[in-house]
Amino acid sequence: MHLLTPRRLAIALCCLAACRGGDAASPGGILVVSAGADAETLFPPLTVGNQGRAVTELLYDKLADIGPGLNTIGDGGFVPKLASRWEWSADSLTIAFHLDARARWHDGRAVTARDVQYAFRVWTDSAVGAAQRNALATIDSISTPDSLTARVHFRERTPEQFFALVYTLIPLPAHRLAALPDSALHDAPEMRAPVGSGPFRFVSWTPRVQLELAANETYYGGRPTLDGVVFAVAAQGATVAARLLSGEADFLEQLSPTDFAQLPADGRVRAQAFGGFDYAFVQFNIRDARDAGRLHPLFGDRALRRALTMAVDRATVVRSVFDSLARPAIGPFSRTQWTADTTLTGIPFDVAGAARALDSLGWRRRGGDGMRERAGQALAFALLAPASSRTRQAAAVLLQAQFKAAGVQVTIEQVDFNAFLDRAHRGAFDAMVGGVRASPSPRGVRDLWGTSAPGRGALNWGRWSNAAFDVQVDSALAASDTASVRAHFRSAYQTAIDDAPAIWLYEPRIFAGLHRRLTTGAIRPDAWWSGVARWSIDPAQRLPRDRRAAVPR
């Protein structure tokens, strides 16, 4: 079965071309988003998941937003939002943001520098527990020389200081919230009916059912083309897709391979590609699962890790699980990140080479079942996989078969997602099929693959440690010009690939599902919702639900 047939590809490309020319849209229509999860909160500092981010970033504007190139160094490509312009001090330790005088909160009050200052206080107050507080660790304070100027003072210069600030900090309405103690903000009723500054205003929220936003008629950036956005929530994956396929919804963030195969032939629903940041891998536990002070009896050996990597035909795994909806991963990064390098040299699939390497390490095939052993010890390990991910389960089964052909006995341990996280966190596994959603910033690689230490390696559950990798990543993150950053990351990535702390499995191609009545621009890979204010619905294809315009109540 080919999910991405030439015909479907042609339709998708035509639609993409049509989308890019769809500016002459008439206002109106309500976008219905079929969502598999609800926003956990509408209070920006506490949002963790993508759904919460989508809603809060439609409600609240940032000072500036990352550009289509997803550059995270300096301020190149960043687009003004609440701040119409900004100036750097000569020593780069201060940035003065000049707020757009037209910007208003949804209750009509002007957005001021005090709102930026207040937001910084909230974000950094441990009583609030903002999820991304660490991203603002290099900021010392924010001063407000006048009502429309917020001066951000940094403790130190870092290449990503601008990105870290504007990507994380969302100004909050001080005039409504400052009277509340910070510790009460978690559960304050105001958080359930937020007043933002963004292109859409809050209308209603029935948790786990639907969340409704309406166009902000007085938005300083111009009224959104759409009249409103409704997030329709369903827990079951099949239901989420069925809503789009039945026409009840207009948009689905990510089509699964199964959904893709069900796209109707009449073109009512189409797929639109946009790069994602996900990649998956088989992570080896370098330390003994029972005693972290010792190396793992198998995976502490670099040569064995490389031999096992060589035994895996990743292209076949990817094709079998995703058809054409994913491609083999290259290393500890996503191709969508600006530091990605597709010219790196991976460990090739080589059955004979793997067999030779295993033989040379003393792992020889025994009679009978053909499995390998050394000094009476079988070459066997357990592969942990989360039950919540069908694709990772399928990949685990295929890997098991490929390892068996190489004489390696693999037992799949399929566990509930919470149990998976718990065991991963404790390092209680031999190897696991892991996956991450990276961000535009390559900084996350330090948490995921850096040596465990304060400020790094927090998510390095395989406890791999490589000094050369750490040094290159540190150098990359300290470099201020993009060429140097790229060069250091290239070196770090190559080190990781060569040392094989993981088998880099696949990167899914992300396809959003769209009803044909919907016209979008290019969808930003890190935040599909970033351009929703300019999306439109064909007037000829409007439905009764579009005429029932969402209005604030």
Binding site: I30, V32, E40, T41, F43, L46, V48, G49, S126, G129, A130, A131, Q132, R133, N134, H186, D187, M191, V203, S204, T206, P207, R208, V209, Q210, E212, V230, A232, V233, A234, A235, Q236, A238, T239, A242, R243, L245, S246, G247, E248, A249, F417, N418, A419, L421, D422, R423, A424, H425, V436, G444, D447, A458, L459, R545, R548, A549, A550, V551, R553
Partner: protein, 324 residues
Amino acid sequence: MTRRIVVRLLQAAAVLAVVATAVFVLLQFAPGDPFAAALDGTNVPPSVRMEWRARYGFDLPPAERFVRWIGALAHGELGYAASRHRPVADVVADAVPRTLLLVGVALALGFAAGILVGLVQARHHRRWPDRLLGALTLGGVAMPEFLLGLLAMTWLGARWRLFPVAGIASLGDTATWPAWERALDLLWHLALPAVVLAVGVAARVARHQRAALLGVLGEDYIRTARAKGLGEWRVLWHHALPNAIGPVLALLGLALPSLIGGAVLIERIFGWPGMGLTLFDALLARDYPLVLAAVLLATVVAVVARALTDVVAESVAPRRARIP
């Protein structure tokens, strides 16, 4: 009667205490907590996770948490649903009426249809309608609810678009609609999940009703009624059914807890935001206070349903109910 009620209440309290303790202990063996489910695997710093855990008491030893939870429960407080950023009582207050509506409608539909089918089968005993309906009810008993739900959602919802795929109301600003239009909209959304839930109930009730009717159709008073020249339907409806309905009504007490169990999956499939979906979400999120509240409520419903069934059975057939 008073003594029976007091005994029933004491039994119910004991059941609740055992269930609460058992569920709490079992949950301690499950890995994770609301913050592990939400934050582990993200780049949220460990210090923030600790702050969140401390805020809601998840850093305390299980025994202390249990004592605190029981103490709060005694004061009518169900705790805080960290995964929803709301008090458990608020979450439950939203969800319970929706589940009661779904289960109530399914129960009414299931019993009405089941009794009717049982009557038709008894009327046409050993003829083709009886055999056909017998096969269908067997299928209804055997068919898993989630499978039927997925089939109904896929075909009647997504493909033929006869019913909404999910939710409890049409999308958009339904709050401005007239009340009757909103009620119709609610019924339209309720139709698929309620019918799917009702199918299993109807099948079981029909089989019991058929057997009970056949059991009384050989009685003397039925023969007398027929000898008086009454039509067969009249005999069935006025003479046989009142004497054969008791055992079927006793099924109510059994059907309600199983329907609530079935509602967990059906609510998930149809996006019906009741207690079933709440429980499912809470389990995935390891939101223990919410799980405990949901399980306790389900237990209360089961206990009350059982007590009501006894009362109904006694009022329908007093002599039968008094048999020890």
